[in-house]
Every structure is written in structure tokens, then in C-alpha cells.
């Protein structure tokens, strides 16, 4: 497994380099490892053909050379998800941002962040309050557009499309990207309807198919046994932890490729938190997950890679192990060990 993954990664790198599509990457020595780093995630998904998306976010390193300085060796945890990815017929596309900036009016909340999200892995976003984690996360499905005065610059590539392109059909896009909020926000509808609502809208009409889908999603979120007798009661009558799992069930019911979670467990008790964490690990088999958390232990437990944000900058982005045991930047170390933040 490991071997194959590595080979693919290498193949990608040579493909990119030989194609020479990005002159910038040829000049800066830091660039090619970074391209490789980004490819390490995407390489398992995108067929290693020269026709793969050319614009790998090489300039990522500008603000954080330390991140990119190291060539990620396939971590022990990596082969597993990539193996899972390849058993699927049509793996969901990987995605990455390139020089993504987000503004609220004049104020820049996110400063030229480039990062790639490896397929079927969990990426944790950490950083002190107000550093832009939610803003960044909400930009990934263009949800931040809803805020008056908010605007974005740069690129977000998902499955070969730059979704920052004004021509992007955001409605279609959002179906492919599930979202879970800090506070559970089930629809004011029955438990059943909360889950069935999205798929029905997208064309699943038959009652039997819907029933099956609802059960499947509720089972996946470990909620089925708790609610199977009261599917037609209001979703608001559930406990906070149950509501949050219902919201996760709702978002996976429309079969997204990516799940964005903004502090999904911060309003929950320890038991519910543990359940949501288990669930995240479970869902990783099918979805690429980006999770914002203030809980360092949670980040360490659930994520494969961790990104540390500070004042709108992506300071460090690396394997979670590395971030928590041997971070390259001092500010990361300070934050993780609780010296500020």
C-alpha cells in the first residue's frame, strides 16, 4: 500500500515538473517539495496523468516556508485512507485553495492562504479566536458570500473547478459540500424530514428509497437506535448532542464529497463530544473533512493534518503528529502549549 502511494506521489511530481507548466515552481527551490506536499494528498485521487490540474498552489510557501520545507513522507496513517479511496469506483475529487484571501469590507480576514486537503482525511483548523478559521471554512463552500460586504480573492479548486469563478453554480456546488455548524441547527421539521428533505429536493422521490436513506444516514451517525421510534417527532425535541448528529446525518444525506465542520462539538457535553469525534473518524472513510476546533486534544485525536492560523495567516500546516510533537514555528508551539491564545 505504502509503496504504491509513494510511487503515485512520485509520478505526480515528475509529471508536474516535466510538464513545466508553472515556471515559478522551477525557480524557487522551496517550491517543488511543496508541490509534492500538495500532491501527496491529491496524488492518490487524481490519476497521475500529465493532464491533471496544472495549477498546483506552488506559491503557498510565501508566508510559511517552514511548512513547506519538509517533504511529507507517507505517514503510517496515510495508506489506509488512500487504500479506501482506491477501492471506490469514482473517488471524490480532492481540493485545495490557492492564495485565498477573504475580506470583510476593507478588512482582510484571511491572507493569501494556500493549502491542500488530502482526500478522505481529516484536516483540523486551529488558532486563537478571531484568527479567521470560520471565515476560511465558510469560504470553502462560498457560504461567506452571504455576509454583506464579504468578498474573496484567489482560487479554490474542487474537482478541477475553481469555485471562486463567478460563473460557478454555487447551488450545485453546495450540494457537494456538507456543512455542520457550531450550534446544532436542525430544521424545524421532524427527525425523518430533517434527513429526507435534502435528498427529496434533489430527486429521490420514492418513499422506500427515502426511508432507506434516512435509516442509513441515521445509522451512520449512530442515531438510529435512539430515534427510530420517534422519527416523526420534531428534530428540535432531541438533546443537543443528538441534534448535532442529526445535522451531520442531514448533511451526508445529499451525498457530499466534503464535510466542513465549524466547532461541531463545542456546544456539547463530553459524552456527545466523544460521539461526534468517533463519528468524524468513521466518516473519514467516505468524506474529506475539514474541522475547526478550539480543543487541542480533539484536533490531535481526530485529524490527520492540522493547520494553525494566526491573524488570518496560515502559519503552519503539517501532519497532526508533527504539529503536536515538533512544530516548526515558535508561535505554533506557543499556541499548542497554551502560552497564548
Amino acid at each position: 500500500m505504502t509503496l504504491i502511494a509513494t510511487e503515485k506521489t512520485d509520478a505526480r511530481r515528475t509529471a508536474v515538473q516535466s510538464a513545466g507548466e508553472n515556471p515559478a515552481s522551477a525557480t524557487s527551490p522551496a517550491d517543488s517539495p511543496s508541490a509534492a506536499a500538495l500532491n501527496a494528498g491529491t496524488g492518490t485521487v487524481v490519476p497521475p496523468a500529465p493532464s491533471a490540474p496544472p495549477s498546483q498552489p506552488a506559491p503557498a510557501l510565501k508566508q510559511a516556508p517552514a511548512v513547506t520545507a519538509q517533504i511529507p513522507k507517507p505517514a503510517p496513517s496515510e495508506p489506509e485512507p488512500s487504500g479506501a479511496a482506491r477501492t471506490q469506483a469514482a473517488p471524490p475529487p480532492a481540493f485545495y485553495t490557492k492564495d485565498l484571501s477573504v475580506f470583510y469590507g476593507e478588512k482582510q480576514a484571511i491572507k493569501q492562504v494556500s493549502m491542500a486537503f488530502p482526500d478522505r482525511q481529516v484536516v483540523a483548523l486551529i488558532g486563537p479566536s478571531g484568527c479567521g478559521k470560520s471565515t476560511f471554512l465558510r469560504s470553502l463552500n462560498r457560504m461567506n458570500d452571504l455576509i454583506p460586504g464579504a468578498s474573496i480573492e484567489g482560487e479554490i479548486w474542487i474537482g478541477g473547478h475553481n469555485i471562486c469563478d463567478p460563473k460557478t453554480d454555487v447551488v450545485r456546488l453546495r450540494q457537494k459540500i456538507g456543512m455542520v455548524w457550531q450550534r446544532p441547527n436542525p430544521f424545524h421539521k421532524s427527525i425523518y424530514e430533517n434527513v429526507a428533505f435534502g435528498p427529496r429536493y434533489h430527486g429521490v422521490k420514492s418513499k422506500a428509497a427515502l426511508d432507506e436513506l434516512v435509516e442509513e444516514c441515521l445509522r451512520k451517525t449512530a442515531l438510529w437506535d435512539e430515534v427510530k421510534d420517534r422519527l416523526h417527532q420534531s428534530g428540535l425535541a432531541l438533546s443537543g448532542g443528538q441534534q448535532q448528529r442529526l445535522c451531520i446525518a442531514r448533511s451526508i444525506a445529499v451525498k457530499p464529497d466534503i464535510l466542513l465542520m465549524d466547532e461541531p462539538a463545542s456546544a456539547l457535553d463530553p459524552v456527545s463530544t466523544a460521539k461526534v469525534e468517533e463519528l468524524t473518524a468513521e466518516l473519514k472513510r467516505d468524506y474529506t473533512i475539514v474541522i475547526v476546533t478550539h480543543n487541542m486534544h480533539q484536533a490531535a485525536r481526530v485529524s490527520d493534518k492540522t493547520a494553525f492560523f494566526f491573524l488570518g495567516d496560515l502559519v503552519e500546516y503539517d501532519e497532526t503528529n508533527k504539529i503536536f510533537t515538533n512544530p516548526s514555528r515558535k508561535s505554533t508551539d506557543d499556541y499548542i502549549s497554551g502560552r497564548f491564545g
Binding site: N141, M143, L146, P148, V171, R172, L173, R174, Q175, K176, I177, G178, M179, W181, R183, N185, F187, H188, K189, S190, Y192, E193, F197, G198, Y201, H202, H232, Q233, S234, C247, R250, S251, V254
Partner: protein, 295 residues
Amino acid sequence: MKTKSVDRIMTGVIVGVGFLIIALLAALLGYLLIRGLGHVSWHFLTSPPESIRAGGGIGPQLFNSLFLLVLTMIITVPLGLGAGIYMSEYAKQNRLTAFIRLIVEVLSSFPSIVVGLFGLLVIVNRFGLGLSLMSGALALTVFNLPLMVRITEQALRAVPREQKEAGLALGLSRWRTITTVMLPISLPAIVTGTILAAGRVFGEAAALLFTAGMSSPRLDFTDWNPLHHTSPLNPFRPAETLAVHIWKVNSEGLAPDAAQIAAGASAVLIITVLVFNLGARWLGRVLYRKLTAGR
């Protein structure tokens, strides 16, 4: 210690004011009902008024009020919903919309006699609709529409942002998010607001004096063809409403029992408005439960 006693005094004051208001309301209601209810009978509710003899009723006026209400609502509810949805969900927040919002506020607080005169000049004379139910409904629209817009807009704005985002995040279009996620949540508020607005329409007199008129042709309650002149459903006939009738009977009534008729009509008017209010709450709750759970 000190905060505690201040707290106690303020609580006492607030409770006192509350009781005062309730007592006033009860006294007013009681007075009107006791004075008027004695006069209310089936005959009173169904028979036409008499101009000089005693024993007249308020049948046509009651019908006119209800019919005018329905007409007004048919005009204002769809427009108000549409404009409210637009203002809250689609319109950009800029100078222009702020200005529109200001105009809407001003319009809804216009003195109704001014609206009545405007109706007379523009709707009745200029557009040639004459003194008619339709003119009355259009005049009422002038201050009911802004109210509906504001009710809808505020109800939609009160929907938590996460609800809207949850709809959009599922890949629903904006319109579908509004209709299937947000409107069900805001519907109780919209329905309650609408019915309360209806109460105002029902009790309005000044704006109708010069638009719907102060007289009613002999109505033939067996003829329901809206095109016939004496049909109650004809929207282009003059129509005196209950509130206008109260005013007229009180100020220039010649019948010997004019005072009782006014009192009886007032009681009917108040009861109807009360029923609207209670009905609004009930309907709002029922709708909410229907729309949000089960299915």
C-alpha cells in the same frame, strides 16, 4: 441589599403598571360589551338598517366590512409577502432600500383621513372607480401594504441565519430555501401579523368615508353574481362598513334607537376584532406545528 430593594421596587412598579393596563382594558371592554351586547340579536345582525324607525339592524354593514376585508387582503397579502421577501432576502442593503423602507414606514403611519382624501381624489375621481368597495380596498391598501411588507420582512429576518445557511448548504436554491425552510418558521409571525393588520382594516372608518362611501344600495342577498348591481359580491358598488355606520349613526342618526344601535354595532366590532386576535394566535400555532413536524 440596596440592589435588592431597588429590584423589588421596580418589580412592584412594573407589575402595578401591568395591572393598571389590564384593568383599563377590562373596564373599556366591559363597558362597551355591557352597553352593547343587550342590543345584539340575530335580527340585529342580519336585518338592514332603518333610517327613521326603530328596530334597524346592521346586516349589510357587517357583510360589507367582511367583504372589504377579504378584498383588501386579496390585494395586500400577495403583494406584501412578495415585497417583504424581496426586501429581506434579495434587496441589497443600500441607500435606495433604506429610502424605500423609510417611505414604507411613513406610509403605514399616514393619518387615515388623509389616505381617505387621497383615495377620493385619485381612486374615486381620477381613476373613476366611484364610491365603491374597490376604491375602499385600494385606499386601505395604502396603509395595509406597508404593514404587510414590514411584517413579512421582520418575520423572515427573525429566522436564525443558521437555518437559512443549512438550507443553502444542502444545495437548495435561494428561493426554495426561503419557501421550504424560512417561511415555515416565520409563518406563525406572518399569520399573526396579518390578522392583527386585518383587525385594523376591519375597524377602519376615516379612510373609507370618501372611498367606500357612507351608503349601501339595497342588497339582494339571494343574488351572488358579482356582476349584478344589487349583488352583495359586486365590488364596484358603494358600501358602508360597520365602523363607518357607527360613526354615521352616532353623528347623524335619526332613528330613535340610534344610541343603542351604535352601542350594539360597537360591541359586534370589538368582538370581531377580539376573535381575529385570538384566532391569529391559534392559527399561528397550528400552522407552525403542521408545517414543522410530521408529514
